[in-house]
């Protein structure tokens, strides 16, 4: 381990002193520092949009620069040692090939750890800066924007779909089975083959598409004035109350309401008509401003000493209930004139009959979110969501089951960002192993070319496999099929899915990156795929003549 560590430390020092590493560090620093102030990165003009755009660009640029830098360093260092014969001085010392290879990889990994930590800290710092009131003054200061920032961006939320989820693939498979049982399948298939000019594979794909379309159309469209109901279970939103200290700004005994000033971060977690606790007394939020809110109390609660004795300027303990969000995407049978459709939503606690409702007007075909108190979820984690179609002009609305979710907070933004950066680090570590393997085998340009040619298989793996499948499927036997099968299998096993493990999207949407997902990704990328590549690199390095012909 001592020698391995010596090589790793040496590699880290080498990386830091190489101009390529310095240039990448400078680029990364410039990008992260300038991004929050770039006009083009303001998103949709809201603060939430600006922060989300910043998070997406910063994580993407960090991942891209780390991957590029790792390719150049890992391929360059190993092949460079052989090219410049510095390997003579190292391999004639008591260092085993595996110690050299792993040490080199470890050094690059340590550099990536350092850079990921720096980038993560910078992203966190700038995101917090944007979240602060100072940044808010230049963006939309609306309470809704603040609520979105606090509950949808600076959050780590899990999500559940409706209990009765339509499985299109299974439904299509059932339809095909039924046709086979009825002896109609070949006849139907032949019809589609004929439509596709005798191309059997295209005919089969057309049949699948048609059946999927039919199954999807079975999702009940919601006619004007009609309702749709979805049940959700497994929601674990309890126990995530936010507490703070507020200042009484005004009190109206007649209106049974108290205006309390609080930090924007706290106010952003309140929901309109949602519960709020003031000095231990339950109230209801009836107005939300960027830096204050008005809590309304029942006659009985208003007369309690904890409320009635309040005076202006007095400090009060305030607690906001946890919230849940319902996200959905509605499509209309006819496009409305203003592009929006009106609706009425109810989110109901099925056990206690507590209901929160909202009237909304949302753009069609764009995901929308409504936020309500988590009191809408019963003790068993169940809730019921009901939708009324109030669209004008008898417009029929369709909300697919795949497009409606309930989200609930399970963690905070900071730890989520740490897990996101860990995923980026794992991707860079795998690329490091790939580069070390290539560098141990061939010269720098060829090794670089090899790594870059592998990148598309990792970044757009699903797309490439989907593009190749029809080609091979035409010839189910023979070498094309065999080669295709081997390539697809090899890619799936050896190369990680960078798109699937890229943490930018969940981070931007405030989706919880679970420890389970992180552990699984790290296990495959670091403990399996990287180890396989490094083992091959060690084997090659051991069997390779490090000197060249000079006669």
């Amino acid at each position: 381990m001592f020698r391995l560590w010596a090589v790793a430390k040496h590699t880290l020092r080498q990386c830091l002193r190489m101009k390529v590493a310095v240039m990448f560090i400078a680029l990364l620093g410039c990008a992260l520092v300038s991004m929050p102030f770039m006009e083009v990165l303001k998103g949709d003009g809201t603060l939430a949009g600006q922060i989300q755009t910043f998070l997406m660009y910063s994580t993407t640029i960090t991942a891209a620069l780390l991957v590029l830098m790792t390719i150049f360093l890992s391929t360059g260092i190993l092949s460079g040692d052989v090219r410049t014969k510095q390997i003579f001085s190292v391999s004639t010392k008591p260092v085993a090939p595996w110690q050299y290879i792993i040490g080199r990889w470890l050094g690059i990994f340590l550099l990536n750890v350092l850079l990921t930590a720096l980038a993560g800290s910078a992203i966190y710092g700038f995101a917090q800066y944007l979240r602060s009131g100072e940044a808010l003054a230049t963006a939309s200061g609306k309470a809704e924007d603040r609520r979105k920032v606090e509950t949808e961006v600076f959050a780590a939320r899990d999500r559940v779909g409706p209990d009765e989820k339509l499985d299109i693939d299974s439904a299509v498979a059932k339809r095909i089975s039924a046709m086979k049982e009825q002896g109609r399948y070949q006849e139907v298939l032949q019809g589609f083959i004929d439509i596709n000019k005798g191309d059997r594979e295209e005919g089969y794909q057309s049949l699948l598409r048609e059946l999927s379309k039919q199954e999807l159309s079975k999702v009940e469209p919601i006619a004007a004035g009609k309702t749709a109901t979805w049940s959700f279970s497994g929601i674990e939103a309890a126990g995530r109350e936010s507490s703070a200290v507020g200042t009484v700004r005004g009190i109206s005994r007649q209106a049974k309401a108290v205006q309390i000033a609080a930090s924007p971060q706290f106010v952003g977690k309140l929901t309109y008509d949602g519960p709020v606790t003031v000095n231990g007394v339950d109230g209801r939020t009836v107005r939300i401003d960027p830096d204050s809110f008005v809590a309304s109390f029942s006659q009985e609660d208003m007369s309690r000493n904890a409320i009635v004795a309040l005076s202006q300027g007095e400090k009060v303990d305030i607690v906001a209930d946890p919230t849940i969000q319902v996200t959905y995407k509605a499509s209309a049978s006819r496009r409305p004139a203003d592009g929006t459709v009106a609706s009425y939503w109810e989110v109901q606690n099925p056990a206690e009959n507590v209901t929160f409702s909202q009237s909304r007007k949302d753009a069609v075909n764009i995901p929308a979110t409504l936020t309500v108190s988590a009191r809408a979820v019963d003790a068993d984690g169940k809730t019921v969501v009901r939708y009324w179609n109030l669209a004008e002009g008898a417009n029929t609305i369709t909300i697919r089951q795949d497009d409606v979710f309930v989200l609930y907070r399970v963690g905070e933004f900071g730890p989520n960002l740490v897990r996101a950066m860990a995923l980026i680090l794992a991707q860079a570590a795998f690329i490091g192993a790939l580069g070390v393997l290539a560098g141990a085998l061939v010269s720098f340009p060829v090794a670089c070319l090899f790594c870059f040619s592998m990148l598309p298989f990792m970044v757009a793996r699903d797309f490439i496999i989907d593009a190749v499948v029809p080609l091979a499927a035409r010839q189910r036997t023979g070498w094309v099929h065999y080669v295709h099968h081997s390539i697809v299998k090899g890619i799936n096993r050896l190369l990680p899915d960078f798109a699937g493990t890229f943490p930018g999207t969940p981070l931007v949407d405030g989706i919880y990156i679970s420890w389970g997902f992180l552990s699984e990704s790290l296990f495959w990328m670091l403990c399996v795929q990287s180890v396989v590549l490094l083992a091959v690199a060690c084997l090659i390095f051991r069997k390779r003549e490090l000197a060249r012909v000079q006669v």
Partner: protein
């Protein structure tokens, strides 16, 4: 430590054939080479360009694999990691990391030998002092001149106090000071029982330090043996004496002729250019003139003399003193003779004829190099031994 009975390096029918991309035989770099190197021996590998010297060294180091034949280094295969802790290697160019300074370079290589921090630090300081780079220890190696790079290269080869030191063109690019120190060091290491394999074009260097040499041509061994055996000229006798005036010289000539021998050449010996150069540099250093480059090195690193960092000064003194005690005085060293000279001639020669000349200042070689017939080496090497590889 080296076992006196252990063969340090042994090659049996060692052959290296280089092939092209299509595995067609391109060139035979080394062919059926049998070679042994023993403990305490300085072994020279000589040969013109492309004779297979470097290829042989690289196979001994495990950087190239033999096509046929066998190599054993300390009884094991060359790529065995354990034996590498007993080897020091100075390649034909110092392939060091240019972004490290001398201090960091030695520290890094010391780490690869798993040396504790204290020992690493101590050895680094001593080696830098020894190779004369203490003043530039924190300059990056990439900024060093070629000679300075050779010095730091030598230091890295010695960081582990190796039992086998493999040197490929070690004095190439070194100034005469460094060359002399280097040769002194090799002699010292050999006295301590270390083995040295030296590949060089500089025949004078090889001749000065090697006990045995192997001369290669076209990848095949052409000659092998001790320097003495290979270079001995039995047909003439050389006598070195204090300066003689004309009359004394005439007497000597007469005495030789009377013994039935011809006087082939009578010359006044000249000082060596190396000696003159070293004397001038010594004088400059005595006057403390500044230089941005390497200075002449200091004492040989303590651990290289004693074999242990903790041994006391007495041991060091003894080791330093030993070669002088063991050597006969230069003036009394007999020259090689074909037959016993007549007693009369000796008496005449030992009679002081003139005043003793003034002792020359500056460093001189402990053992005057015997006048050698350089043509023997040139003939064996195909007459192009001075060209660089």
């Amino acid at each position: 430590m080296v076992d006196a009975n252990e063969t340090v390096v042994q090659t049996v029918k060692l052959t290296k054939v280089f092939r092209d991309f299509w595995l067609r035989e391109k060139v035979t770099a080394v062919s059926e080479l049998d070679m042994e190197v023993y403990p305490g021996e300085v072994f020279g590998l000589l040969g013109p360009n492309g004779s297979g010297k470097s290829t042989t060294l690289k196979m001994i180091l495990g950087l190239l694999f033999p096509t046929r034949g066998r190599i054993a280094v300390f009884g094991r295969r060359p790529n065995n990691v354990k034996i590498k802790s007993r080897i020091g290697f100075l390649p034909e160019e110092s392939y060091l990391y240019p972004f490290l300074d001398a201090h960091e370079t030695l520290d890094f290589y010391g780490r690869l030998f798993h040396q504790p921090r204290q020992r690493r630090r101590r050895r680094t300081e001593m080696l830098l002092e020894m190779v004369g780079l203490s003043g530039v220890a924190y300059r990056r190696v990439g900024e060093y001149s070629k000679g300075m790079q050779r010095r730091i290269g030598l230091a890295q080869a010695l960081i582990n106090d190796p039992d086998l030191l493999i040197l490929d063109e070690p004095t190439a690019g070194m100034d005469p000071i460094g060359t002399k120190q280097f040769k002194d060091l090799i002699r010292l290491l050999a006295e301590r029982g270390k083995s040295v394999i030296l590949s060089s074009h500089l025949l004078a260097d090889v001749e000065d330090v090697c006990e045995r040499v192997c001369i290669l041509y076209g990848g095949r061994e052409r000659a092998r043996g001790t320097i003495e055996d290979l270079l001995e000229v039995r047909s003439s006798t050389q006598i070195t004496t204090e300066g003689l005036d004309e009359s004394a010289l005439a007497k000597v000539t007469k005495a030789i002729r009377s013994a039935g021998r011809k006087v082939l050449e009578v010359t006044a010996p000249r000082d060596k250019l190396e000696s003159l150069f070293l004397r001038i540099v010594d004088e400059a250093q005595a006057q403390r003139l500044t230089t941005g480059g390497a200075t002449s090195g200091g004492e040989v690193a303590e651990f290289l003399m004693s074999g242990s960092d903790v041994e006391g000064k007495q041991v060091i003194d003894r080791l330093i003193a030993k070669p002088i005690e063991d050597q006969p005085a230069p003036a009394s060293e007999p020259a090689h003779t074909e037959s016993e000279p007549a007693q009369e001639v000796i008496e005449q020669l030992t009679t002081p004829a003139v005043e003793k000349p003034e002792q020359k200042a500056g460093p001189v070689s402990d053992k005057p190099a015997p006048k050698v017939d350089r043509s023997v080496l040139d003939n064996l090497m195909g007459g192009s031994a001075d060209s660089e590889e």
